[in-house]
Symmetry: C3
Subunit: 346 residues, 3 copies
């Protein structure tokens, strides 16, 4: 594919910032400091990469104002180099063009309304009464349940499943293997056996959400499961029924969120973390990877609960004592009393 | 959709319990205490929701006998309100009707036996010699391997994969993305390289099992992997080869169970827990979320191993000491000896 | 299916080792010590199974030289019984024969090159310009993106998705639900909102790799994500963008590996472990199940960080003290000083 090249001057006039060095320098792709070549644009997101900066062969670079003079390379100086880079990269790497229409192998249910600018790929099934918005792309093998509403400019990668009646906002991106709206894990004990609780809520997803591969978001038991605007979910996350995730929260891979928990806005949750059910997590909370949150968090801040790893033998010794930590604490208390007695006598 | 309304008297005559208040009150849907409206039936599963009870606008409510007088709302009094609610909800929210027949885009292998009352949706593939029981629904895009046996009234949601020769019991529900019978992780080291061990066992699943979205159950290496009757598995669980899960055990999302482990009956396993391989877990064992079970459990009871989370700075200090816990224990022992010496001298 | 039987003499002449006992004994299948019958071949991988050995009814057995005389059963004596067993099992359990050709329901993009010996099953989609090597089998419902390169003798089980431009080596096995090349989790904060960073790298996979069901491997942000030769990945593993996994490393189920981490060769990683991003893990490192690796590991060896489980009440007491471990350490230090003062006075 022939790539189109752009002058730094053109990029700056489109995305802001100002150019230092030769503004006629052209670039046609973005790349890392290490791998960028002539004709490619890289970025310096943080001063800690200055060593790589010295060695880069990039044709041009995006830098913050603090680093405006850190290099001689033709450069665009801006406030937020990483965000700037994101915008330029999206500009240089447009998605494949949408090809409106419905593939002959797709199966469309009665009363479904598919915008004429939407693309429905091979082997897609769209249930009765579903609606697909303008410019949306439903890639091969997706399954859209009856009564589902999908907004505009949505992109569902191959083999996404959306169960009946769910609502997906505009510009949603869902990667392959995502399952939206499967039944939540609702069961009631009845004389030692489990009865299924019908899951009659929906999943309602706001605008500008992205969902990673094989992530699952269960429908609500009675009320809805809600993902607010701008939420970003990585791969293999499990969102249980009636969870609410606040706007602009980002969650890394393999996190599990149990039922009826509400997570605030602008939170960041590390990979493989877990959050128990029926909890409230405040806005602007950061949760470390591999941390289980077992109580509500009312206050913004960073929270962690990780067993520090070590060489096997060390771990074994420390873990063995951990099973006796309460006794150790008792021994310390007793020692304190005894020492106090000795001091008084002294 | 027009919903059918039922009198409380009708419901009680069908499901038991007795009505207090106006038995002619009609309901057509279930809802939570918070969101229920006139014409809707809610439930009080536990006394701790009495605050919501006071505010509910529900048309009727299911309560236990202890709460029979806790409200004036027309109510059904029964032994187990949550189970009762499950039954009424299933009655008010029937599954879509099965439409027997095989979609023209489905591909059916030689010698497959599909009951005439079963529904085979679009883009399904059914392997040679497979059998599908009466009333079963195989939704779009499912893949059923050669020689698979599927019981009656089974429901496979879109894009479930069942590998060859597996056996699925009656009334199984498997949600989208479930993979049953993929190869277990059997590898043998041979001079620094891994040789694959063919996985020639099957997965055998009993009656009344439910399996959540994107859960994987591997086929046995030589003997079978077995899921007994009434087991309920949430989403994104990994069940390795030759595991056996006892009847009526319920497992929450993201749990991993390593190979050849046997889990008893009526166990409950919390989300993101793990169980190492070749272990025996007794009946009626409860395992907390995020807990790794590294030894067999011979005795019923509740087991936990979670690092308690805290604010980052606190965690850092405590975790640093944890790496020296064995030394701390030594210091305590030494202090005890020294104090003992001082006391004797005293 | 009629199985072909082989004499031990034939097997030994094909795979090495020497026969003790009747070399004309025939076997047609492998089985465990416990379940093997006459006509079946079992193996003794370790002396700890000698109890089962005494009770086995197997027709023949594979043993190491140390166990050559541990039984009277006709036997093949070899250096590595488990690897030998793997080879014989593969020989006795060949994969279904490949049926070259493209199913009529498959959709093949412009310029795709599919070797005439490859098998493309029903409802497969192959993107423009993709290449499929000799003897490869793409099972039903797989989605192969534009420009993907797939080597020879690859087997993709039903419903595998490979995004555009990824490169898969020879003899890859990928199980159902695997997603290769979805976008990595690249987002940049811009005034409280997340901007998507286009993921323009690829996934490049070497030869002889196996990938378990529902495992996800993200494409690189700018450079590639790389899986080297002989890597074995179990189910539900998450491999983030720009990870590199060294040759012949084996990773158990549910592991999460964050972005830009490099894992060495011949490593073994236990189930549900996690590795943070931007780390270096040396060759020959073993990581225990459920362990989070938060720092680079420069030295071969075994590493662990697991909170030991116990009965609930015990755990609660110990965990409560863990939140005060730093204070406990301070108390010990103070006690040491006080005791020292008392001793001096003494």
């Amino acid at each position: 594919m022939k790539r189109t090249a752009y002058r730094l001057a053109d990029i700056a006039s489109r995305f802001g910032g100002h150019v230092l060095g030769d503004a006629d320098t052209t670039v046609n792709q973005v790349a890392t400091l290490d791998s960028a070549q002539a004709g490619q644009l890289t970025f310096l997101a943080s001063g800690k990469y200055r060593v790589q900066l010295a060695a880069t062969r990039a044709g041009a670079i995006i830098v913050g104002s603090a680093d405006a003079d850190a290099t001689e390379i033709p450069r665009i100086v801006c406030d937020n180099p990483y965000a700037y880079f994101a915008r330029v990269s999206a500009f240089l790497n447009p998605l494949p063009e949408t090809v409106p229409g419905i593939h002959s192998s797709a199966v469309v249910g009665e009363g479904a309304q598919i915008d004429s600018s939407a693309q429905i790929a091979a082997h897609v099934v769209i249930g009765a009464g579903a609606r697909i918005g303008a410019g949306s792309v439903i890639m091969e093998g997706c399954s859209i349940g009856a009564g589902v509403t999908i907004g505009d400019d949505v992109r569902l990668y191959p083999r996404v499943v959306v169960y009946h009646d769910c609502v997906l906002g505009n510009r949603l991106i869902a990667h392959s293997g995502v399952v939206i709206g499967a039944d939540g894990f609702g069961i009631a004990l009845d004389a030692g056996r489990w009865l299924k609780i019908p899951q009659i809520g929906r999943v309602v997803i706001g605008d500008d959400v992205e969902i990673g591969a094989n992530t699952t978001i269960d429908r609500g038991a009675l009320d809805d499961t809600v993902i607010e605007d701008g939420v970003k979910l990585d791969n293999q996350i499990q969102v249980a029924h009636n969870v609410r995730i606040g706007a602009h929260t980002a969650i890394a891979g393999c996190v599990g969120i149990a039922g009826s928990t509400t997570i605030g806005r602008h939170c960041r949750i590390g990979g493989s973390a877990g959050i128990l059910g029926h909890l409230q997590i405040a806005d602007n909370v950061e949760i470390s990877s591999f941390t289980l949150i077992g109580k509500s968090i009312r206050e913004a801040g960073s929270y962690t609960g990780i067993f520090p790893f070590s060489k096997n033998e060390e771990w074994r010794k420390n873990a063995a004592q951990l099973r006796h930590l309460d006794e150790l604490a008792d021994k310390i208390k007793m020692l304190q009393q005894e020492v106090e007695v000795l001091r008084r006598k002294d």
